[in-house]
C-alpha cells in the first residue's frame, strides 16, 4: 500500500508535479510563514498599533526568504532539465515550463526577495500584520509565476485573478498611521474592470477557435487571418488577384462573398479588449489625484514596499503575460494590430510623462512614470523582430532592479519618520548622507536614460529595433518623449543634490543590513547592465529560447 502511494507520488513529481514544483515550494513556505505568525502571536507581547516602535519578528521574513531560495534552486534544476527537452508541459498542456517561464520566474523571485528585504525594517508597518503580509507577498509571487507559465485560457484567468486578489489585500494592508485606503479601493476597481474585460476577450477567443489552449487558438486565428488575406488579395485587379480568386473558388467557395473586415473584426476586438484589460490592471488610473475629490494628503495611502511591488513586480508579470499572449495567440496578424499597440503605448507614454511633470510627491512620480516605461516595452511589440524581443526583456529586467533601488532609498528615508515622500523633503539630502543622495541620483539618472547606465541601453535597444523594423516615426517619438521623462527624473536628482537647509538636516540617515543588500544589488545591476551588458542581453535572449 505504501509502495503504491510512493510510486504514485514519484510519478506525479516526475511528470506534472515538476512543472509546478517551484510554486508548490513557495506555497509550503507561505503556509509556514502563516503558521509561524500564529505561533508567535500566541505569545502575549503585542504592542498597541499606535506605538511608534514595533516589535520585529524576524522569523517571518526569514522563512519567506528561505522559500524563495528553495524555489530559485528548483528553477535552476528545471532550467537544466529543459535544456535537453526544450520545454516541459503538464496538467493536460495547461502549464508550460520553457525559457520564458524560467527567466520571468527568476525575475519575480528576485523581486519578491528584494521587497521582503526592504519591508523587514519598514517602520510604519504594524506588528500584528506582518505574517500575513509576508505570506501575501509569497502568494502573489506564486500566482504571478503561474501566470507566466500558463498556456491555457482557464489557467491564465485563474492566475491573473489570484495575483490581483493578493494585490488588493496587499494594497489595503494598513500601516501604523490612519491613512484612508481610498487608493487601494480605486486600484481594486480599475483592476477588477481589467479582469472583466480580459474575461470577455477570452470568451471571444474561445468562440473563435473552440479551444482553450493558446496554441490551438493561435492556429485557428492564423487560418482566419490567411483566409482574410487571400480575400483581400483576390479583390485586387491583375494576375495575382485573379489567381487568388481561383484559389478561393477551388478551396473555399463560400468565402468569395465574405468581407475581410467581418473576418478580422472579432479577433481585433478580442485583441483590443485583452490589451486594454491587461493594461488597466497595472496602469492604475485610480492613483490619479483628479479622480479623488478629497485629496489633501501627500501619501498614496499604500505602504511603500507595496507600491514598489505594484509598480515593479506586478507590472512586469502582467506585461509578461501580455507579451506571451501577443506573441503566441495573435502572432500571425501582427501586421494588422500593431497600430492598436502603438496607439496604446504612445498614449501611455504621453500620459505617464505629462502627468508626472506636475507631481510633487516622489512616489507619485515613480508610479506615473512606470506607466511610461511599460509603454516603451510595448513599443517593442510594435517592432516585433528578434532585437525587439531581447530589448523588451532586457528593459523589464533592468527596470525592476532600478525601481527597487529608488524605492529602497525612499524606504530608508521613510525610516526616519520625518519623511513624507514629498519632493521638497528630499532637499538637503546630500548634506545628510552623501551616499544616499548619490544612490538616489544613480537610480534616477538610470531611469531617465543617462548613457552609461542600464536604463539608457534598454531604451536604446528598443529604439534600435524600431528603426530596424521600419517604424521610423515611432522611433523618433521614443527619443523625443525621453526628454520630458528625463526632466521629471532630473527634478528628483536636483532636489536631492541641492536644497536648502531644512530642519531634518541633522537627522542622519541609517541603513539597516537588508536595505544595504538591496541597494547594493540594485546599484550593481543598474551600472553593470549598462557598462557591460553582454551577460544581461544573453539572459534576455534566453527568455525567447535563444
Amino acid at each position: 500500500m505504501l509502495n503504491h502511494i510512493l510510486s504514485a507520488f514519484r510519478t506525479y513529481m516526475h511528470g506534472d508535479g515538476a512543472v509546478v514544483l517551484p510554486e508548490m515550494q513557495l506555497l509550503l513556505f507561505a503556509i509556514g510563514t502563516l503558521a509561524m505568525d500564529s505561533w508567535a502571536a500566541n505569545t502575549p507581547n503585542e504592542k498597541p498599533a499606535s506605538s511608534p516602535v514595533f516589535q520585529q519578528n524576524y522569523w517571518n521574513p526569514a522563512i519567506a526568504l528561505a522559500g524563495i531560495a528553495f524555489s530559485g534552486l528548483t528553477l535552476w534544476i528545471l532550467r537544466a532539465r529543459i535544456r535537453q527537452a526544450g520545454e516541459l508541459a503538464g496538467f493536460h498542456l495547461t502549464l508550460m515550463v520553457d525559457g520564458y517561464f524560467v527567466f520571468f520566474s527568476a525575475l519575480l523571485l528576485a523581486a519578491t526577495a528584494l521587497v521582503i528585504l526592504l519591508s523587514v525594517n519598514f517602520a510604519t508597518m504594524s506588528a500584528a500584520r506582518q505574517g500575513r503580509y509576508y505570506a501575501l507577498l509569497l502568494f502573489a509571487c506564486i500566482s504571478m509565476m503561474l501566470m507566466v507559465s500558463a498556456v491555457d485560457l482557464l489557467v491564465i484567468f485563474l492566475a491573473v485573478e489570484a495575483a490581483a486578489i493578493s494585490a488588493y489585500f496587499l494594497a489595503a494592508t494598513p500601516g501604523l498611521s490612519n491613512r484612508t485606503p481610498s487608493a487601494a479601493v480605486r486600484f481594486l476597481l480599475s483592476s477588477a474592470l481589467g479582469s472583466a474585460l480580459v474575461a470577455y476577450a477570452f470568451s471571444l477567443l474561445y468562440g473563435l477557435s473552440g479551444a482553450s489552449n493558446i496554441s490551438q487558438i493561435a492556429e485557428a486565428l492564423a487560418r482566419r487571418h490567411n483566409v482574410a488575406k487571400v480575400i483581400t488579395l483576390s479583390h485586387q485587379s491583375g494576375p495575382q488577384g485573379s489567381q487568388m480568386l481561383q484559389l478561393l473558388q477551388s478551396r473555399l467557395p463560400e468565402a468569395v462573398h465574405w468581407h475581410a473586415f467581418t473576418l478580422e473584426a472579432l479577433p481585433i476586438a478580442a485583441f483590443t479588449l485583452l490589451s486594454v484589460g491587461i493594461i488597466l490592471k497595472f496602469a492604475v488610473p485610480p492613483f490619479q489625484p483628479e479622480f479623488n475629490r478629497a485629496n489633501t494628503e501627500t501619501d498614496l495611502g499604500i505602504l511603500s514596499p507595496v507600491i514598489l511591488y505594484l509598480s515593479g513586480m506586478y507590472a512586469i508579470a502582467v506585461v509578461a503575460l501580455l507579451l506571451r499572449s501577443m506573441f503566441t495567440i495573435f502572432a500571425d496578424s501582427q501586421d494588422i494590430w500593431w497600430h492598436i499597440v502603438a496607439a496604446l503605448a504612445i498614449g501611455g507614454i504621453s500620459y505617464g510623462v505629462l502627468a508626472s511633470l506636475r507631481q510633487t510627491n516622489l512616489e507619485r512620480v515613480i508610479v506615473y512614470l512606470s506607466i511610461a516605461h511599460m509603454g516603451y516595452v510595448l513599443l517593442g511589440v510594435v517592432a516585433a523582430n528578434e532585437a525587439a524581443a531581447t530589448a523588451m526583456t532586457y528593459y523589464l529586467f533592468t527596470y525592476l532592479f532600478i525601481v527597487t533601488g529608488v524605492f529602497g532609498v525612499l524606504i530608508v528615508l521613510r525610516g526616519q519618520n520625518t519623511f513624507s515622500a514629498a519632493l521638497t523633503d528630499l532637499s538637503g539630502l546630500r548634506r545628510r548622507s552623501p551616499v544616499t543622495a548619490l544612490l538616489l541620483i544613480i537610480f534616477v539618472l538610470s531611469l531617465g536614460g543617462a548613457p552609461p547606465t542600464a536604463g539608457f541601453f534598454g531604451r536604446y535597444f528598443i529604439f534600435h529595433s524600431l528603426l530596424e523594423s521600419g517604424h521610423r516615426y515611432i522611433a523618433w517619438f521614443v527619443v523625443l518623449s525621453s526628454l520630458p521623462l528625463a526632466y521629471s527624473y532630473l527634478r528628483i536628482a536636483v532636489y536631492a543634490w541641492r536644497g536648502n537647509k531644512s530642519e531634518t538636516e541633522t537627522v542622519p540617515v541609517a541603513f539597516g543590513v537588508p536595505e544595504a543588500i538591496v541597494l547594493g544589488i540594485c546599484v550593481f545591476v543598474s551600472l553593470a547592465a549598462g557598462l557591460y551588458s553582454e551577460p544581461f542581453t544573453r539572459m534576455a535572449r534566453y527568455a525567447f529560447g535563444q
Binding site: L153, L154, F157, L158, E161, A164, I165, Y168, F169, A172, P174, N178, T180, P181, S182, A184, V185, R186, L188, L189, A192, L193, S195, A196, L197, A199, Y200, F202, S203, L204, Y206, G207, G210, A211, S212, F291, N292, R293
Partner: protein, 104 residues
Amino acid sequence: MLPITHYLFLSFALFFIGLAGVVIRHNLIVNLFSMDIILNAASINFVAFSRLYGDASGQVFAMLAVVMLALELLVALAIIAAVCSRWKCATPDEEKDLSSQLDY
C-alpha cells in the same frame, strides 16, 4: 438552438451596459455590480460557444467566472469594511445610506 449571433448580440449589449455603468457611475457598489454585468456577458458568451462546439471548457469557464466574481466582491467588501471602520460608518442607519457614503 438559436443562431450564435443572437447570443453574441445579447452579450455585446450586456457588455456595453456594464461598461457604461463602470464609466458613468461613481458609486462604489454600483461600479462593482457593473463589472458583474460585464463578467456575466462573458459567461453568456462562454456557454453559447460551448454549446456551439460541444466542448465543456466553456461551461467550466463560466463557473470559474462566477467564482472569481464572488471572490472579488468578497475582497472588495472586506476592504470596504476596513474603510468603514475608519470612517466610522459601522451600520447603515436610515439617515445615512452605506452606498452613498462610498462616493469617491
